[in-house]
Amino acid sequence: LIEGTAMPLSLGMWDWVMIAGYIGGILVMGYWFSRREEKTSEHFLLGGRRMPWLAVGISFMMSLFSTYSLVMAPGEIFNHGVSLFVLNVVAYPFMLMIGFSLFVKFYFKLQSFTPFEYLEKRYDRSVRVLVSLIYLWTRLLYLGMVLYTTALVFKGGVGWSPWLTIPVVGVIAIVYTVMGGLKAVIWTDVIQFLILIVGMSAAVILCARMVDGGVPGILQYAFEHGRGPSLYTQREFYRIDPYMRLTFWFLLLGPVMESFFYTSADQISIQRLLSTSSYRNARRAIVTNAVMVIPFTLVLWMIGFSIFSYYGQNPDPRVTAGDTALFTFISTQLPTPLPGIFFAAMLAAAMSTLDSGMNSLAAVYVKEFYVPVFNKSATEANQLAFSRWATVIVGLVFMALGLVIAVSAEALRQSVVEAVTIFSALLVVMVPTYLLGVTTRRATSGLIWRLSFLSWGLNFGAIHWYTASRTGLHGPIPSIAVVQPLAVAVARCCRWAMRSASRSGGPCRMSPAGGLSVFSGRASSDCWPFL
């Protein structure tokens, strides 16, 4: 698809009617919620803390599901099989529930707007600023990437240029998010979920009618041709080997870290949970999400199996890879207006991620930076007005980032994606900060800053090694590169901790100025043993 080899969808009049109906529908919803809106930032950012848990559970799932997932999952199954996703679908719901019971009660206890407020109470202001800044930065990059990959999907799937897709998707999402706030975001997510389910199920049902034996026939054919979870029966799969494409332990780490991130530091998901009226309802919302994600994923897998079996039995020279097969099938085999519904479903997947991102990053900006730093005496009316402006600004930044990535990716190819990975590496700090915060009374701000520098060092080292290995250096990780700095870091950490314990004033505490002084090179060696 990225190479542009897919056959673009040819849309008829009824397809365009479906798409126009979808866009008109969500804009009307945004307008409707703007009229009913009460005028406080709590209503704009948290839906007045009265949102129904079922809608919140669905919205939670839709925010984290983008157009890229819609193309990537069937493509992976077509090309390699379902092994990549099996462990995720088993482990993710359980880990999500564990993550919820670890972290979310504290946000309800503090009646927070953001998960970062907890960090100030638990550690100090410097940790709150550190984590919220990293979050803002990495989520902006992530949403820029979402827009970019959406533009790629539309370029391959329907022949639209990124210069058309990014402004259209971005502006529509900005308009209804600014008008209706979180209420509009959550209810449009529910509508978008229904459209997505209809679009995906239609593709599976129609494909099943064209393959011998229907759904059982599809599964039998796909499993016989190596698209089932056959990796799980191989011994090599359970080895720890960085050169294997998929191994059990790396696949297990994914859902654990992902679900802990969503339930601890991720404003997009935490803001949804806080919009319910109580902790008990938030738990119902997360159970809804954990339960619904399973059939939703199974339908997504079925698309992959169906397309693979269909083109296995009816070869088509235009179909060369999994990503493009889905679009070729939709454009050549589905009757109008089903391609239109599918197109609307793709738009829905993109917009449900973007609207949540805009609303949530606006919340982070207003509650973490605007009110505490720039306008301490902001009234509710100021905060509401600024929340709307922040939504527009965040939306425009996404669009600009998406376009910059789209333009530079054409010139620089893969390196842009790698650059984004490197800049996202700062994220490694977030889950340990919350995990240590809730599980031990002994963790301090000083410890978190030290661990941050240690984990950034290890992470950048790992990325550097990976990049080097791709350019020809192929061998085991030189252990001295990891073990020696690690040993020094642990020894220094222990020495500092023992010194702190013996001091009557307790461990070294970071003031906001002290915490940030590392950037100006004024760090005291007593508080910064790594420097």
Binding site: F108, Y118, T440, R442, T444, L451, C493, A501
Partner: protein, 31 residues
């Protein structure tokens, strides 16, 4: 894991305990 090992050498923080900000200290049912 390194973080947990390091915490073994640190003293407990009274502020955290009294404010109920860890799983050991948080009160029963949250509203």
């Amino acid at each position: 894991v390194i973080g947990y090992v390091a915490t073994l050498f640190l003293p407990e923080q009274e502020k955290v305990k009294t404010n109920g900000l860890t799983l050991h200290d948080v009160d029963g049912e949250i509203g």
